[in-house]
Point group: C2
């Protein structure tokens, strides 16, 4: 889908630093392929090392930990998710953009379930991926917030709505849907698009019959 690369690739510099950067990139690429092909739990130092043509100990010259490798993969995955969302975020009409964002989010979860699990369902990862310096997560969330901002300025939202809470609710629905699909697929039998459409409809128009006396 998208290449794994360190956030700013300082490709220049001494040939030493260049080789080092190459090694890092190769290790990360192989690690990503392992996660994609065999799942996150198959991400083993020895397996990564063999795939990259190193011994296991050599990985510790380029990364502090197994967790550091996984974290980097998660951050790259977050950037990929942001890319997918940004593509959908080009839609002009806010409501259609909202639907496009939802579909893109769900599609990402379906296309790269192990990456999604790595980003959002492993303990201690999402925090760094969301609050890191690059803050790809924050940018992705801002994309959602922008929709409701636009809906507000267009005067299409109810009065007295907490925009932050609304954007959070939207994200919560997306994440709940994707993550449940990953862990309880046997229970969530309905196709995603239908579920998403229903959830969006409920969220936008409400489930209750409009009442005269509030």
């Amino acid at each position: 889908m998208s290449e794994v690369k360190s956030s700013p690739p300082p490709v220049g510099g001494s040939p030493r630093a260049r080789r080092k950067e190459d090694a890092r990139a190769r290790i990360l690429a192989e690690a990503r392929r392992i996660v994609l092909d065999q799942g996150f739990e198959a991400l083993t130092m020895r397996r990564i090392a063999e795939a990259a043509g190193y011994s296991a100990a050599a990985l510790y010259l380029h990364f502090e930990n197994r967790e550091a490798i996984a974290r980097e993969l998660g951050e790259a995955g977050m950037r990929a998710l942001l890319e997918a969302l940004a593509e959908a975020g080009k839609t002009v009409d806010p409501l259609q953009r909202l639907k496009a964002l939802a579909l893109a989010y769900a599609a990402f979860g379906r296309a790269e379930p192990e990456t999604y699990r790595l980003i959002f369902m492993e303990p201690g990862f999402a925090t760094t991926a969301l609050g890191g310096k690059d803050a790809a997560g924050a940018a992705a969330f801002a994309l959602i917030g922008g929709v409701f901002q636009d809906l507000t300025t267009a005067g299409r939202l109810r009065d007295g709505l907490d925009l932050e809470g609304l954007a959070l609710t939207f994200w919560i629905v997306l994440h709940g849907m994707v993550s449940l699909k990953l862990t309880c697929s046997a229970f969530l039998v309905a196709p995603e698009e239908d579920l998403l459409a229903a959830a969006l409809d409920n969220l936008l128009h409400g489930a209750l019959r409009p009442n005269r006396e509030p």
Copy 2:
């Protein structure tokens, strides 16, 4: 919160079977304590064995796997969740019941995060816990579905709503909220009650301003 016990405890029988059942229960109880105290990843066969006064190999006389122990813990957790929800499900008014169910669900996630992670966020567990014979999960979900059923018969829902989809959406919101709180607590800063209230409000009343031309 509630004791860990096998679904039907056939406490009678030969003294042999009784001792065996005791051993099983003791092992499960210690396993549960480890998960609660030190987290799921600290659930080690040798640790469980030591806590229960056995050797590691002895555990395999009572359980097939480490996973079997974890699965049993997850099912017990699911029953505990069902209990908590059932308590909230006694509320008469459907709308208040919905809010009570949401609060109970969130409270369970907050009180036993590791149990919740075990049930819903470990790969391959939720499926069995939801579709098992006891089907505590199905009962819990039925509790939610009942609310919307009652709302329907009371004529308080919009026409043409997919009840199943609505209940699923509700559950998705609850799960998305709790699980995000577990993995992205740094990002989800707002207090749970506020978030839940906002999400419920959006779900029930809709975010869009009611429009004349549909």
